[in-house]
């Protein structure tokens, strides 16, 4: 048993290193200033970059966070603190589970029908909304799980001081759980940062520099898909570098959360 667990651990660490190493090997040569500052060059010309896709990915992730973090954390607080044992809480929990099981392409089609069709244009906004909706259940269930780890005694001690319930949750329980909740958010960001399917129906892509929220916008996963499947070697290199940049953004988010957010040992 110990041997099996040890082997699994070795394999999973090895797999991570292999993926990271492989992407770095192929992506690093193209990771120069041009990649971050230039737009794609026409086929056959040297020296293009994916500046618009890097910026686009940041905007899409930012929009997704604006929607997914407050909504997800709010739902997580509800599940853990308010509706824990009620039928209403069970309903919300079921809804969140179903939502997290909805394939992302379906979310893309849904946002297409409510936003893209209404606004008559693919847009960064639609992409951000789709990614945000995908984030909500991930953030909600993680937040619920982390809050459940905070000992009940802390809530009782705070209530016994004559503090209203919401202050207990916001000022005492949430800060105690901040690290776990923050790390969960970065995992959810990692989940949506690489989403491609829903973006086909929402943000689409853009070959030009565009930061407008109501315009189609480029993103790293979309460009990776496009460039990797094209028949040109120079485009393949851009795709590899795009993958490296994407994974760097995701991993640095996770590392930052782990470094910056303070963790506490609860006394149980």
């Amino acid at each position: 048993m110990v041997g099996f667990c040890g082997l699994s651990t070795l394999l999973i660490s090895g797999l991570l290193l292999l993926v990271l190493g492989y992407i770095t090997l192929h992506g690093l040569p193209g990771a120069n200033l041009n990649f971050f500052t230039r737009l794609p060059a026409p086929v056959g010309m040297e020296g293009g970059g994916l500046a618009q896709a890097v910026a686009g990915s940041f905007i899409l992730i930012g929009l997704a966070c604006l929607i997914g973090i407050p909504w997800g954390i709010g739902a997580g607080i509800f599940l853990s603190e308010v509706g824990k044992d009620s039928w209403w809480g069970e309903g919300v929990r079921f809804a969140v589970d179903v939502l997290s099981g909805v394939p992302s392409i379906i979310t893309g089609i849904f946002v297409y029908s409510i936003l893209v069709v209404k606004l008559q244009s693919f847009s960064a906004l639609a992409g951000g909304v789709a990614l945000g909706i995908i984030m909500v259940p991930l953030v909600a269930r993680n937040t619920e799980g982390i809050l459940q780890l905070v000992p009940q005694g802390l809530r009782e001690a705070a209530l016994a001081l004559g503090l209203p319930f919401w202050k207990v949750i916001l000022k005492i329980i949430l800060p105690t759980a901040a690290r776990g909740i923050g790390i969960g958010v970065t995992l959810a960001v990692a989940g949506v940062a690489g989403e491609t399917a829903p973006l086909f129906f929402t943000s689409l892509s853009n070959n030009y520099w565009s930061l407008g929220l109501l315009e189609p916008i480029a993103s790293l996963p979309m460009e990776i898909f496009r460039y990797a499947t094209a028949p040109f070697a120079a485009w393949h290199e851009l795709a590899w570098t795009g993958a490296l940049v994407l994974i760097t953004i995701v991993v640095s988010g996770m590392l930052l959360a782990r470094i910056l957010l303070p963790g506490y040992n609860f006394r149980r």
């Binding site: 005694g153 001081l161 004559g162 005492i172 303070p262 506490y264």
Partner: protein, 252 residues
């Protein structure tokens, strides 16, 4: 004011879902005295004191009936948040807030309820720390997290935190059961001083402790009040056979 009634309890019954834990009794708790609540495990001691500041009802499925008058005011017809400010509570485990410094812990009851005045907060925190005898001991670490303090010191931080809100009554649920004898002794000494200003109700499993520190003792068994009287009477000359067997350790 001597021997005046602080809490008047009548027909108190409490349930967890369909299980009745308190079977309906009444008593009067005297002001500026220490009342010890004793009884075998599961007799409803903790539930009883949790009914006195409306902490019982925060458990899902918990229910209370009867009345508890705090100076004539029925706490079950008042705002529970305000009642808890007037009737504080100290728990078995020293549950300091981990995300806060010692100072913030003690100030929490006031600062989170809107007191912004730094000078005033500082005064209250220092006074509370002095009351529990910690001002000298940890004065210089006051702005650090409480991690690193001993459990006796942590429990005193929790008592200081309860005192800082300036309650009238303090309920204590086995405050010494996680502490070593020396730390317990400090807390016992502290309680004898605190009763000048507060009314104290303490649940304890330790008969010697109850006998040493309390003025009145109430003995509960299976959710009923069996005996209530001055501590010397209950310990030396109990009226009920069940009280006697429990105190002498023969059986519940």
């Amino acid at each position: 004011m001597l021997n005046s009634c602080k809490l008047k309890i009548a027909g108190l019954q409490a349930w967890y879902d369909s299980r009745q834990v308190l079977k309906g009794f009444g008593m009067e708790i005297r002001a500026n005295k220490i009342t010890a609540v004793i009884g075998p495990s599961g007799c409803g001691k903790s539930t009883f004191i949790r009914c006195l500041n409306r902490m019982h009802e925060i458990v899902p499925g918990a229910r209370v009936s009867g009345s508890v008058l705090l100076d004539e005011q029925d706490i079950y017809r008042a705002n529970p948040v305000e009642i808890r400010r007037r009737i504080g509570m100290v728990f078995q485990a020293p549950n300091v807030f981990p995300a806060m410094s010692v100072f913030e812990n003690i100030a929490a009851g006031l600062s989170l309820n809107g007191l912004r005045n730094k000078q005033k907060l500082r005064e209250v925190v220092e006074k509370s720390l002095a009351q529990v005898g910690l001002l000298e001991e940890i004065g210089s670490f006051i702005h650090l997290p409480a991690t690193g303090l001993s459990s006796g010191q942590l429990q005193r931080v929790c008592i200081a935190r309860a005192l800082a809100v300036q309650p009238e009554v303090i309920l204590m649920d086995e405050p010494c059961s996680a502490l070593d004898p020396i730390a317990s002794f400090h807390i016992e000494e502290l309680l004898s001083e605190l009763k000048q200003q507060y009314t104290i109700v303490i649940v304890t499993h330790n008969m010697q402790q109850a006998a040493r520190i309390s003025d009145y003792t109430v003995f509960l068994s299976q959710g009923d009040l069996i005996e209530y009287g001055s501590t010397p009477t209950v310990f030396i000359n109990p009226r009920d056979r069940r009280t006697e067997s429990y105190i002498t350790g023969r059986s519940a």
